[in-house]
């Protein structure tokens, strides 16, 4: 330990108490400090989506534990994403409307021709701008609140949310109890209107008025003015957590969160193939439909461990929801400190989820339509790994620059049991490969 770098007792206490915070950007700085974090993510899916995402977080610490933090994010997304249609050994012609292209500015409403064995993709481009603000106020030596607000705007999707977090320390400041509440209202407005759910895809699938021949009006989302109306969803989240100083070199945290999503949870841009039950040949394409309610729960555990020179972060999350999805996420980050200024941080993340109960690779055309169906592979049983390496250089106490490279692979069931006919010879879940590069600079003055 370099004594010359050791902080004062006062600063150490203030910083350690900040380190107990459970959910917000943790700023270890003295009163009056400005902290500016700038970064840009370059995200590239092989043969699919590319994203450039600059982000800026500016924090003003105006008292020992009080701060205001402003977050600005911009996403520029281009490329193509899987539209949900099943891969086929035959050439496919998918009726395309603006609403069946992925989020954002879609191409012209012409049919999409997909080559045999190719992944059915929809081209898109979009921009997202988001702003968030967090204000932490200490009301006493052991109690503080963090009030947050955020807004995110895209061509076809807006989100506005707020949150409040209460944190109470024990007198010895070794334990922090956290209660967080959040509310968000999202509005989805697909270009051209909201598609009728589980409708056969054709040029008339959009804004087709309900013939009132069903009794499920609430879920239809196809009012007469659908073209102009946005669909909404309301998200509420509650988190309780405990953060514990275990020893001089171990800090750990355990959270439980429960959240509910209500409203329009369907992806208006995803479709699902309907195939012949014997041959597996695609007959037609339908829009998807998801339940309008989702209850999400998670346990999240994290530990930061100081080894003689290095620091290791371990985390694990168990997630489950009433769509029958369960997921395990485990991650390790190892800060390999090489001298006073330079560090390497290799990281590894493993993720595994089960599929949603209404997920189908395709529907069979000899069966009646289910209540809900989606072929969005993000709702399929899948696994994922991310390997990363970050290189950081600290210019003394005030400025740090870093570069991080990551490689993510995602894979699922290539030959699921529900495959029929020619589908049995196909890879119904093509691997996804993603490379990510992040450059970052942090300044404290």
């Amino acid at each position: 330990m370099q004594l010359k770098n050791k902080p004062s007792i006062r600063q150490a206490l203030a910083t350690a108490s900040c380190a107990l915070l459970a959910t917000q950007p943790l700023i270890a700085a003295e009163s009056g400090d400005w902290v500016i974090n700038l970064g840009t993510l370059f995200y590239d899916e092989k043969d699919r989506v590319s994203i450039v995402e600059p982000i800026a977080i500016v924090t003003y610490n105006y008292d020992d534990e009080d701060y205001v933090s402003l977050r600005l994010v911009n996403d520029t997304m281009t490329g193509a994403s899987h539209n949900g249609a099943s891969i086929s050994s035959q050439s496919q012609t998918i009726p395309t409307h603006t609403t069946t292209s992925a989020s954002g500015s879609a191409g012209p409403g012409t049919d999409t021709v997909v080559s045999p064995f190719a992944i059915p993709l929809s081209d898109f481009s979009d921009q997202r701008n988001a702003v968030g603000i967090d204000w932490q106020k200490a009301h006493s030596r052991t109690f503080r609140t963090i009030i947050g607000g955020n807004a995110s705007v895209e061509n076809d999707y807006n989100s506005f949310g707020s949150s409040v977090t209460f944190q109470r320390d024990t007198d010895d400041k070794l334990t922090t109890f956290t209660l967080g509440l959040a509310l968000s209202i999202d509005a989805v407005k697909p270009g051209g209107g909201t598609p009728k759910p589980l409708a056969v895809l054709s040029s008339s699938d959009v804004n087709s008025r309900d013939d009132d021949d069903d009794d499920d009006e609430e879920d239809d989302h196809d009012d007469e003015d659908a073209a102009d109306a946005a669909e909404h969803k309301l998200l509420t989240d509650v988190l309780v957590g405990i953060t514990q100083v275990v020893s001089r070199n171990v800090l750990t945290q355990l959270n439980y969160s429960i959240g509910q999503s209500r409203g329009y949870l369907t992806d208006p841009y995803k479709i699902i193939s309907r195939v012949d039950p014997t041959s597996g040949v695609t007959v037609d394409y339908l829009t998807e439909k998801r339940p309008d309610n989702r209850l999400r729960q998670a346990f999240y555990w994290k530990a930061a461990i100081h080894l003689p020179k290095d620091v290791v972060h371990l985390s694990y999350r168990y997630y489950w929801d009433d769509w029958s999805i369960t997921a395990h996420t485990a991650e390790i980050k190892y800060y390999f400190n090489m001298g006073d200024h330079f560090y390497l941080m290799p990281s590894f993340r493993y993720y595994k989820q089960s599929g949603a109960k209404f997920f189908k690779y395709s529907l069979l055309n000899d069966q009646s339509l289910p209540d809900y169906a989606s072929a969005d592979l993000r709702l399929a049983p899948l696994q994922s790994t991310t390997r990363g390496l970050k290189i950081g250089y600290n210019f003394g106490r005030n400025t740090e620059v870093s570069f991080r490279a990551e490689y993510m692979q995602q894979w699922g069931e290539k030959n699921p049991s529900e495959a029929v006919g020619l589908q049995r010879q196909l890879d119904l879940f093509p691997n996804l490969e993603v490379t990510m590069y992040t450059v970052e600079i942090s300044m404290d003055f």
């Binding site: 150490a12 270890a28 514990q244 959270n255 994290k302 929801d321 769509w323 997921a327 989820q353 996804l432």
Partner: protein, 75 residues
């Protein structure tokens, strides 16, 4: 069996979180290591934000780390 395993893991995590502090009480003057930036649970807020957004857009599971942060049409 799967549920039992998950329950077992959660009990272990709870146990280590709650019990160890009793065994190793840390005095205020012993918090030098805890004060280091890398020992914060979120040492890099930019990295955390970008990770959260990336995985939210590619996976069905989310949450657990905190509340708020903003929605997105990516999933």
């Amino acid at each position: 069996m799967k549920r039992f395993f998950c329950f077992f893991v959660i009990v272990i995590l709870f146990g280590t979180t709650f019990s160890a502090c009793v065994v190793f009480p840390v005095k205020p003057w012993e918090r030098d290591l805890l004060a280091e930036k890398q020992m914060q649970l979120t040492p890099d807020s930019v990295e955390a934000n970008l990770e959260e957004h990336t995985y939210f857009s590619k996976e069905a599971a989310s949450g657990g780390k905190g509340v708020g942060g903003g929605g997105c049409g990516c999933n």
